[in-house]
């Protein structure tokens, strides 16, 4: 049996989760002199030990396949690859989730200080003015109780702190920010820019959270292109290295790792008085008392925690008298197409590692086009170049011998790829709820997902396919053979796969429409805040992380002000 241990101490603010949102709240509050206790379900991160930056594949016995060749049999124990920064999983051991029979959904979770920011793509795009007012823009979705004008100063703070490359372009679909110098385009990226010119599409320097100049004591990038492995010099943003480690030095932060939050405890007035969690190492139940709680466990995990925090006052889960917790679940749409570009064959070799991922990108360009048959839009991420060869390099090839060897050499670096990342309109079929029959290894009820793309997304992805093929052909290339499935929705990535879940604990001025007010503070529990992508009212074609940081920053400042005034 789990033993419950109570601590008499009252912590000022308990933050649950240490990713982009939790890290930001920790940073802002500790900077303001507030004592914070951070609960993280995974272990402490140790970059010196955990990051595999600069490791060659041959320096590892199994070269990345896995010690028992797991990768060859679809059983890789790593979320992305052996070399990727820890610590995330498509299947967390002992912590299942379920998916309704008519749905498909995949849930990538992280269990480590820094969460998914340790490995993420670091694409940092501001939401546009119309993204905050989508219903006013085209009658779909719900307006945020926050405007771009209100968010803009927080985007400034976020960009100035985490460091984002870019250039001022004056595009409504890609608002300008406080940018570090951009990185020069690679050879294939110059060709892509020319193809875009020909097709009347913008293609601008990418906006990435990598430091092209030193920022806040973090060194400038050394251009090894391995940001996804974790960066020893913290030149690529992660909440662990840029926010939490510095906060540890303030004396204001206490971190409890290996702590799986089970439930928020409330009193008769609806205030959160304590957090109950499982200390994984001992399988014992602990409780810490708090003045305020900030839930930043990632959109779905935060919804799960609230839904599991039932009480007489909150029979549907904490702050869920509206029944909206878990609803409006969205992810980004994804579709990829690559192709071989003869102009790049046998390209003179050079080091083109640069910053991980793209140096240029294509923001949405058809906002005002009345002919398109789907709402909103998508941005395009580009890829190619001479990457470090890895396991899988020649899989799918045919033949053998010197012909194969020459072909691999000639074609190395001669492929380009386009990835569309588009907006999903929230729909009633996509939500998460507590599975009534399943608990995880800690006895905590798990989530059950319902998820369906609509015609909006399937039409958007068809448009992506045609656009990418046209771009590749404009470069003189040959798109890979790929048929768009009969049912358009089958061409879209599986829900959750792009790892941009949002919307499950949304803001709304009307407590019946959303659990949180415009400060991401629960209508029904005034010392409860949510600081991840759960409060979002939409999921624009602009990856969520920068907006999580900006919104969490604003939330943390509000919380601090409310504490100062004695309201919380």
């Amino acid at each position: 049996m789990l033993q419950i241990q109570r601590s008499p101490e009252v912590h000022d603010v308990v933050v649950i989760g240490s990713g982009a949102g939790g890290g930001t709240v920790v940073k802002v509050l500790t900077d303001l002199g507030i004592n914070v206790t951070l609960l993280e379900a995974g272990p402490m991160l140790n970059p010196a030990k955990d990051f595999k930056e600069h490791v060659w594949p041959y320096q590892v016995d199994h070269r990345g396949v896995g010690p028992h060749a797991e990768g060859y049999f679809g059983k890789s124990p790593w979320g992305f690859s052996y070399f990727t920064a820890p610590n995330g999983y498509w299947n967390v051991p002992g912590e299942p989730y379920t998916v309704a029979p008519d749905s498909k959904f995949r849930w990538f979770r992280s269990r480590i200080i820094g969460g998914r920011t340790n490995h993420y793509g670091r694409i940092s795009l501001r939401f546009s003015d119309y993204d905050f007012k989508p219903y006013s823009f085209d009658g779909l979705g719900t307006d945020w109780p926050v405007s771009y004008e209100e968010m803009s100063p927080y985007y400034d703070k976020a960009e100035e702190f985490i460091g984002v490359t870019g250039t001022k372009e004056g595009l409504r679909t890609a608002p300008d920010g406080k940018f570090l110098p951009p990185v020069a385009p690679r050879v294939h990226e110059t060709l892509i820019q020319k193809a875009c010119q020909k097709l009347n599409m913008p293609c601008v320097p990418s906006r990435m959270a990598m430091l092209t100049k030193p920022v806040h004591g973090r060194a400038a990038c050394h251009y090894c292109g391995q940001c996804g492995r974790g960066c020893q010099t913290a030149s690529a943003f992660s909440s662990s290295q840029a926010m939490i480690f510095p906060a540890m030095k303030t004396g204001k932060l206490r971190i409890i790792t290996g702590a799986m939050a089970r439930k928020l405890i409330t009193d008769d007035t609806g205030r959160v008085t304590a957090v109950s969690y499982v200390e994984k190492a001992t399988r014992s139940e602990k409780k810490i008392r708090c003045r305020a709680a900030v839930v930043a466990a990632s959109a779905c995990e935060s919804a799960r925690l609230l839904l599991n925090s039932q009480s007489t006052r909150f029979p549907n889960g904490l702050a869920n008298n509206s029944g909206m917790v878990g609803r409006n679940l969205t992810d980004t749409t994804g579709y990829d197409l690559g192709g071989f570009v003869p102009a790049l064959a046998d390209l003179p070799r050079h080091n083109c590692d640069g910053i991980d991922g793209m140096h240029v990108y294509i923001p949405w360009w058809l906002l005002d086009d009345k002919r398109k048959d789907f709402p909103r839009g998508y941005h395009i991420e580009v890829g190619g170049g001479f990457d470090m060869p890895q396991i899988g390099f020649a899989h799918g090839e045919e033949g053998y011998g010197s012909a194969l060897k020459s072909k691999m050499r000639a074609e190395y670096g001669a492929f380009v790829g386009f990835s569309g990342r588009g907006e999903m309109i929230p729909n009633a079929n996509s939500y998460c709820e507590i599975d009534p029959t399943t608990v995880d290894q800690w006895g905590i009820p798990v989530l059950r997902f319902h998820f369906r793309w609509s015609e909006h997304e399937s039409k958007q992805v068809r448009h992506m396919h045609e656009t990418f093929a046209a771009l590749i052909e404009a470069m003189g290339g040959k798109p890979e053979k790929k048929e768009i499935p009969e049912r358009g929705v089958d061409a879209v990535s599986i829900g959750g796969e792009i790892i941009h879940e949002a919307g499950t604990v949304r803001m709304h001025e009307d407590p019946k429409q959303g659990p949180l007010n415009r400060w991401c503070q629960a209508h029904e529990a005034e010392n409860l805040f949510v600081a991840d992508a759960a409060p979002f009212l939409g999921n624009p074609d602009k990856n969520v992380t920068l907006s999580i940081v900006a919104l969490a920053w604003r939330t943390a400042e509000h919380l601090a002000e409310e504490m100062r005034r004695g309201n919380v």
């Binding site: 600069h54 251009y223 890829g383 074609e411």
Partner: protein, 206 residues
């Protein structure tokens, strides 16, 4: 591809995976690549693996068959050493020693190759003439040749090619063969004008 997170996020890291596109063409050799190859050959000569590697998983006969296959799949050429010198057989043996599933695929494949050669030429694969070995590979290296009789051979050869190329292109020799020049620290990022002009001249934007 799209249902695999590795491919999605690292799509372009591994774009070779989605290849199967253009015909082979003669390689242009840059001075840098040539230099790498020379270094690789020199290194290989000085650090030649002990000739008597003791297989951990396969029998001596199976291991010889694997070595021959790796040499056929990625041979040495005037550009660089091949998979034999890069230790592909040793790596596959090591991986198979830690994966019964993988070991079975390879021992089964070796058995199929020997049985096939015995039926047609009354010798094991390793003892067949090079032209007989090549004639068999010309069949089983291509999916379009599939018949009920050779389907297991085609399936096995795909595994063999995948693992031999994996071993090769993740080895110092294979990485130098391709001419990958990164994985180092640079104070600033720039693109050589020579490379840019090379691509632009060959592109529709010339």
């Amino acid at each position: 591809m799209s249902d695999n997170p590795l491919s999605r996020r690292e799509l372009l890291r591994n774009l070779g995976i989605s290849a199967a596109l253009a015909a082979p063409r003669a390689g242009l050799v840059s001075a840098q690549v040539a230099q790498h190859v020379h270094e690789a050959v020199a290194q290989e000569k000085t650090a030649a693996p002990k000739s008597e590697y003791a297989p951990k998983c396969f029998t001596a006969h199976e291991f010889k068959t694997l070595q021959r296959l790796s040499d056929l799949i990625i041979p040495a050429d005037d550009h660089s050493p091949g998979a034999l010198a890069a230790g592909a057989a040793e790596w596959i043996d090591y991986m198979a020693s830690n994966s019964p599933e993988l070991a079975q695929i390879f021992t089964g494949g070796f058995g199929w190759l020997d049985h096939h050669m015995q039926q047609h030429h009354a010798v094991d694969f390793i003892d067949a003439k090079p032209e007989q070995q090549v004639a068999l590979l010309d069949v089983i290296a291509y999916k379009k040749n599939e018949t009920p009789e050779n389907a297991p051979g085609i399936r096995f050869f795909s595994w063999a090619r995948n693992l031999v190329t994996d071993a090769y292109y993740t080895s110092p020799i294979g990485i130098k063969d391709l001419g990958y020049m990164g994985n180092s620290a640079m104070s600033e990022f720039h693109v050589p004008e020579e490379a840019l002009q090379y691509a632009l001249k060959r592109s529709p934007f010339a």
